[in-house]
Symmetry: C2
Subunit: 451 residues, 2 copies
């Protein structure tokens, strides 16, 4: 497939067509494009131009465009649309997407928009979904699904399903419920294609069905769906009544966002920022971590300051500070990243003590190798005294082992206390290992060189 | 759903049952579990126990278990199975999963295993798929799909589909081809449920269909499928003939691995390692990056060594080295991470010069804030001379701006040259910014303090 590529010429052409109100040409041009591509185009236009396109193009297409827009852009565009116009867009969407948009509106606008949704069933479903926290299964699910009663026969099934399928964008599974709407199992589409129409549902359905509760977290849902390779999963309430279904495309976003969040935390960026955000938002996301690093640096400064006497006797010790610091930081980040990722994938098991022992051994191997090289360089290149080289080598090994153990221990501890271990990566772990590393260095120097 | 939780008791019980060869009880116990859960259990057992389970349980289930195992575990288990036994497992799998397993075998075992696959069509498909690089659409696709000829009517369609569907685990889309097997469009299952059986395919099919070429990269496929929310995509050859289809569950793995790889690179870990890998593998993944950091540290050492005279005149300058270094490293990682993530999501556009200007401004804001605090601390807490505090402040601003610009520039440059920009994050960018930061610091000190 030749992927759609946004070009400056295309954007200019669209801006020109908007300015000249060439609606017919504009409609033709855009109608060939996928909604995800139109969303990309709108990201390049200003708000008025975006609103112009949303108003011009059929709501059947623009409703999907709205769901694809970044939050900021969507907010700006929705501000410029009337409640009636927003309702017209929302009517075209599945309930989960509709709720995503409505939930971003101010409280009074919500009510106004919902009052314009004429289909009472659709409005009811949306209001229902507004109750759930967006980070739970309830917040991810849609009300559109195909379900059949266990007491029906296949003929009645197919008839009812044709009816229901008209409201469902993609049919994944056919869920089987009893008279109280309690989830009993599922029928696969394949079975339906290959079974005689005279069979009864209760004789052919598969009773083994994975499901989640409305209150399960989005991460749990993502974990279950990706572990068991599910493309859709039914959602039940506390009475096991079928209340919705979640599809894999919604979960792909959760998985990606989860991974990106960990990555950003490791790199010292809070909030979900993107390269194209404005400078103020980027500063807000980045400055706090730099300040942590700054306080670490100032802490290190006062440690070195406290050893001023040493500086006079063994000035050569000071040239190895960057080496000690960089090594401590690097090891800490490595150890914590591996644990954080393991925790995210649920692949960490076994005892804490065994894991710490392993990191200890790893630290000894890595530390020994690096200390060996450094002792040679220190002796031959920097002509350092014998005892100074020994000091640097022992300090390196100690610092590496220490950083490895801390980098492993802290994320596991945080995880056990229910805190996201990813906050313990990046600048946080680097800074504490920096300061601790320098402290260890001077302490060992004091012991060996005895000043 | 109450998620399956592996416990020490369960593992012990299973080990006991294996030792006592209690096959009946073992089968009952495991038959209730999902294949992904059995794979988790096998990860806790030794190779012989794993082989015992694979041999004991029906191939219909264990074949899926094999696909879920980590590469190392699978390799060990396959070594202990005969070619015939492997073939029996593979027969149960879809072609894409079958190829994933066969492609890991040594060349002569491959031939032997394939010779045991009695279904010639299945064997042909597998051999076909072995041709493709695993990081391409061809390497991801399966041969199992449902396709109909544009010249059929719906009745013939349904009849043929029932036949085809028996070989396909999940029916996503029905692809429409012409007499030469060239992809023409698709039929949705929903259409099929709601259309009269007398219609002709060519009158009801949707000609707009997304597809990828066999040679497209796995990342391209992942990008297209997640951008356009596709659950399956057909794969065509150079003549646009339909040769396979890729489902979203395979792509979810690609997306996750992509994100994890970037994260690991940023944290200074090469290869795809996990916390549970052995020490040797972990050392191999971590030591190279620590060595880069070490050479950086030694570089910094010789820079400081070169300014020995200064050390004597202004020893207080030395206590700020960790601060300069940590700040340079943190800023560099932040800037590069934001760009790398933007590049991975295809959300980076606009001119390079504008982006560098933005980072320059960001650096000024962050640098100004930090320098302001540090100048106060340096003056009041460390009682540094006026000119020394000024030196540290100016150096901090310069170092931050420099690190921000370099952190932005290098990933973009690498990306333009077709190199994965993620390699430029983590220890690599930290180390170069460390060294450069210290160089800038001493250079500015020299200019201001004039030694």
């Amino acid at each position: 497939m030749t992927t759609f590529k946004i070009t400056d010429e295309l954007i200019e052409k669209i801006q020109q067509l908007i300015e000249q109100k060439q609606n017919k040409e504009l409609t033709t041009l855009l109608s060939d494009l996928h909604y995800a591509d139109i969303a990309e185009i709108i990201h390049e236009l200003d708000t008025e131009e975006g609103v112009y396109i949303i108003r011009l193009i059929d709501a059947q297409k623009t409703s999907d465009v709205l769901t694809e827009l970044d939050d900021d852009y969507r907010e700006n565009i929705l501000k410029n649309l009337s409640a009636k116009e927003i309702a017209d867009e929302i009517i075209e969407l599945d309930t989960d997407d509709a709720v995503d948009i409505i939930s971003e509106l101010p409280e009074d606008r919500k009510t106004e928009v919902i009052s314009h949704i004429k289909d009472v069933e659709h409005a009811k479903d949306i209001v229902d979904l507004l109750r759930y926290d967006e980070d739970t299964a309830g917040g991810l699910m849609a009300k559109e699904l195909v379900k059949v009663n266990e007491n029906w026969n296949v003929l009645k099934c197919v008839k009812e399903m044709r009816e229901q399928a008209a409201h469902v964008t993609r049919v994944h599974s056919i869920y089987v419920v009893d008279d109280n709407d309690v989830l009993k199992g599922r029928l696969s589409l394949k079975d339906l294609l290959t079974t005689s129409t005279r069979s009864e549902v209760k004789d052919i359905y598969i009773p083994k069905v994975d499901y989640v509760y409305v209150t399960d977290t989005a991460e749990e849902v993502a974990h279950i769906m990706s572990k068991y390779d599910l493309e859709a999963i039914p959602v039940v309430d506390e009475m096991k009544r079928l209340v919705g279904r979640i599809t894999i495309d919604d979960v792909v976003d959760v998985i990606r966002e989860e991974a990106e969040k960990d990555y950003q935390l490791a790199a010292g960026i809070t909030n979900d920022v993107e390269a194209d955000d404005n400078i103020w938002k980027l500063t807000k996301a980045r400055l706090p971590w730099l300040l942590i690093g700054m306080f670490g640096g100032l802490g290190a400064a006062s440690i070195i300051n406290g050893f001023q006497d040493t500086m006079m006797v063994y000035p050569i010790l000071l040239i190895f500070i960057p080496l000690i610091q960089a090594t401590a930081g690097n090891v800490g980040v490595q150890s914590s990243a591996i644990i954080v990722q393991g925790l995210a994938n649920n692949s960490i098991d076994g005892e804490l003590i065994k894991r710490l022992l392993k990191e200890f051994l790893l630290g000894l191997i890595n530390g020994g190798t690096i200390a060996g090289i450094v002792i040679l360089v220190s002796h031959f290149a920097f002509k350092a005294e014998y005892l100074v080289s020994i000091t640097v080598a022992i300090a390196l090994i100690t610092v590496i082992v220490n950083a490895a153990v801390i980098g492993t221990f802290i994320p596991i501890l945080l995880h056990k206390r229910g805190i996201d271990p990813a906050v313990a990566t990046g600048p946080f772990i680097t800074t504490s290992n920096d300061v601790l590393g320098i402290l260890i260095y001077f302490f060992i120097a004091k012991m060996i060189l005895g000043f």
